[in-house]
Subunit: 328 residues, 2 copies
């Protein structure tokens, strides 16, 4: 099988996840990791070489797909359109409200350069999104629910870390079991934000800091915590490092709908993820989408694509014949 | 929105399911139901007209997609290639072992006629298959599990009905809860047929029939029951009609896999269906695939397709812009 030559831009948790996914896929070859840091300071997990980002233009003929491991706030809005002028690219842009704008920018760049750019892949957006599209296409009359967790929200953990006196923090988003069960039972409940998820915070604070004030600052924080039942547990920095080092996540996309002459038959479609490592799973999705980007480019397609535009067979290392014989 | 003009060949449970799905989709118009019976004897649920199958060639310009509601044993191997010469078609061919052969026959016919034929859609094969492909593409190192039920197996119910002395029967396939939980917990168990599912049979027998002999004939029946823990409950024909009239089904496709430098991070992907009406849900999948067949044909594609070849956006009534704005 022809090797797909992959580059990774950005070597944080997600970049490492993509690196490991390349190793797990026999048809992929990771050429190099590109970083804004001094490459000599970036030692990769699998021993692949690190290069400075400024060297990327020299790799135009050496890389088939560049996977972007940057963040959605500032990195990807710049990087994805810029690098789509040179490479087929894949990103995990996840600012839902700005996806149409990001799509337009990336599409213009990729079309002009004759490249394929796959944006907003991972699990949400990504696999959760595609689960919603299938379920809505099958059951046009129904209701959608998304539950996240139990898992670490990095945005919420960061918000706690910004409170004065906080040394470190880890925030778990937890679905309310009763809400999840009511949805799964097809009861079609109307649920407020508070009824769907709780937030559990594990916080290490400076010696002498005002724990009560910090707890209040957390639970009353608008947007992040005020609309949720939030619990705060103070732990030592050592405990936090020991017991909360992982980045688990997951959740469920559920659509409930009805068919029948009188709508008497209920159906529940659920897509559920239970992930020990959010960045490694996300990196694995990005790698599969890099394969699809490569194949779409080989087939002469250009422009920006989302997971909705990718036929599932394009993601698989198996041939169409193998897929039909073994997976159908 | 342009109406997609649908025809249905075969008016059994599945044909009715497709009929109801056409009513539920605003962009579809059901033109007629076609039957091998006397059309005057076929009164449809929604009042759409019934026509004799021999009239189908007259509808070549009046129908965009013909949905085939026949069975996999004898109907579809003949009908799908035959009607792919005249129409874009969709079928639910589900004899897994014969799919490659069916694909080849249908592909040749559809290509020659310049039509699109979507085969083997429904939920298994169909949505379960596509769940397997996504999960395998994301987690190349892992194990696949499929559990069916709790739900009515028509094939097993029919097998019981063929035993002398049996008036009517209904067989439920039931996943073993402990097996399902072990898989969901990521324990990656090796499971025998017996450890995965049990079979519950509700049987009405003739007056004076030998219940013990019938029970033995069921539980010892090779292929169907001998490899399972099977329970037989004798009920009256009235009870069977009253309490077991529905055709519920469902199940779960689960892939468990690992990532990480040492494979230390476990992931569980589950796609789960809980369906009150197997034929109505299957009909709803066929209708969504009819939309995709229409669009692929409009785009100039020809030949046989499976759910693996269909970009998810093609199944949805929403535009690409709407999908990105609301579903991603």
């Amino acid at each position: 099988m022809a090797n797909i030559r992959i580059g990774i831009l950005g070597y944080g948790n997600l970049g490492r996840g993509v690196e490991l996914a390349c190793r797990a896929n026999d048809d992929m070859e990771l050429v190099a990791v590109f970083t804004r840091r001094d490459p000599a300071s970036v030692v990769t997990l699998t021993g692949v070489e690190s290069r400075h980002v400024d060297e990327l233009p020299d790799f135009v003929d050496k890389i088939d797909v560049l996977v972007l491991g940057g963040g959605s706030a500032t990195d990807l809005p710049e990087q994805t359109p810029a690098y789509a002028k040179l490479f087929n690219v894949v990103d995990s842009f996840d600012t839902h409200a700005r996806i149409p704008e990001h799509f337009a920018n990336v599409d213009a760049a990729a079309r002009e350069a004759g490249k394929v750019a796959v944006i907003s892949v991972g699990w949400d957006p990504g696999m959760f999104s595609v689960a919603r599209v299938y379920a809505n296409a099958i059951l046009p009359q129904g209701a959608d629910y998304t539950f996240w967790g139990r898992g670490v929200s990095q945005g919420h953990s960061d918000a706690i870390r910004r409170i004065p006196g906080v040394v470190d923090a880890r925030q778990y988003t937890v679905p309310v079991p009763e809400a999840l069960e009511a949805v799964r039972a097809g009861e079609n409940p109307s649920l407020t934000t508070r009824q769907k998820h709780t937030r559990e915070c594990f916080v290490a604070i400076e010696e002498g800091a005002d724990a009560a004030a910090i707890e209040r600052a957390i639970v009353e924080m608008p947007n992040y915590f005020a609309d949720y039942d939030t619990t705060v547990t103070f732990v030592s920095a050592e405990e936090l490092a020991r017991d909360h080092a992982g980045l688990p996540h997951g959740g469920s996309v559920i659509r409930t709908g009805a068919t029948g002459l009188e709508g008497q038959n209920k159906h529940v479609i659920e897509f559920k993820l239970d992930l020990d490592s959010n960045p490694e799973f996300t990196g694995s999705v990005l790698a599969a989408c890099a394969r699809a980007a490569y194949r779409m480019a080989q087939a002469g397609q250009t422009g920006c694509k989302t997971i909705f535009d990718i036929a599932p067979a394009m993601l698989s290392p198996l041939s169409p014949e193998e897929l039909r014989a073994h997976m159908l």
